[in-house]
Symmetry: C2
Subunit: 233 residues, 2 copies
Amino acid sequence: EIAQRVAELFTSTALTGRRIMLTAGPTWEAIDPVRGITNHSSGMMGYALAQAAAEAGAQVTLISGPTSLTKPERVTSVDVVSACDMHNAVMERIAEQDIFIGVAAVADYRPVDSADQKIKKNADEMTITMVKNPDILADVANLEHAPFCVGFAAETHDVVDYARGKLERKKLDLIAANHVGGSETGFGVPDNAISLISRDRVLDLPKQSKHALARRLIIEIADSYQKKNEKQT
Amino acid sequence: EIAQRVAELFTSTALTGRRIMLTAGPTWEAIDPVRGITNHSSGMMGYALAQAAAEAGAQVTLISGPTSLTKPERVTSVDVVSACDMHNAVMERIAEQDIFIGVAAVADYRPVDSADQKIKKNADEMTITMVKNPDILADVANLEHAPFCVGFAAETHDVVDYARGKLERKKLDLIAANHVGGSETGFGVPDNAISLISRDRVLDLPKQSKHALARRLIIEIADSYQKKNEKQT
């Protein structure tokens, strides 16, 4: 039944003409020209979703932090480095989007301007003072004419509870909760397990390749988007 | 003339039986299970040197921080994450080495133990307290029976002056000074320009592929190593 729905969607026009923007990858918050703060995101999930959305007929814009991945075909992409760069790139282009999927692992904080940053290289200790980054997803969801908003949550504990809290707090339509292992060496693993959460349900998608998962998620997102539109019209 | 020397070395037994250890790549200093401090090192230069050393007949041990590179053939490799891990991996195996080449961009500092780290996610500001990491290169060079020690310096300004200071301070035999661009987006560029500095000279090697440069550097390192040994015996 699932196989059939996949086949239908990917030969149908369910997303034809829909404009989808995704963010993907980590952000890089520079401490100085050499060092920075980042995270383990490889960008694979976001890239896989961008590809699946393009295959389903959508016009896709991918705003990507630094990754070593090849850009999917038939996707308009914009490369950014920091969370502030990403915020700007999203906001410049958000007005024309129908659906926004925030997959990027955006840094919560950035070091204060490096000119102000006094790094004493010979000191036994050093401190880095950080300030809060803009919340891209919340800013998009709070727009007067907000697109259909999908967030991602990557947590090590209480994944579903935390994700539902984020869904409500940020006024999202859907949130995909990603079970992150505690391993320090979990760089860019190809498989993923996700719970897709809306206000009224939780859909558990078992561990599978990010490409298979991306197609499933695009089906569910398209479905929810359509239902929301039907209600409103 | 250079081409001839390259050909000679790579068909000769100049490094046969010599044991060379290299460190390569960045280190990852975890802030929490998701975030960490790292740097722009791709590991390409260290991996290229490991390969060139193996091709020149050496027994090569490569201690590598997290990279997405494929390990060179005929090289024994050990994967590490943090600077402390790398220090341990080096020290366990250093006694049997003839030559040590520290190419890794090792973090100077690491966040204090994450159990002690109080990250207030909702605060407007946060500070990360960091403590000094062990200096792997200095610890190796200060061993009673230290191998021939080659360091790398990646700086944005006063590259040669800084590198010579490091050579003397850390008691190295050679240091390769790498001219790092100021661009934030310089992730893993394939070309490199290097000045190779000893106590009595500076050899400037122009911008070229990291593989070509690696072969040149291995020739120069083998040469200096041999000269030092001839003096001592």
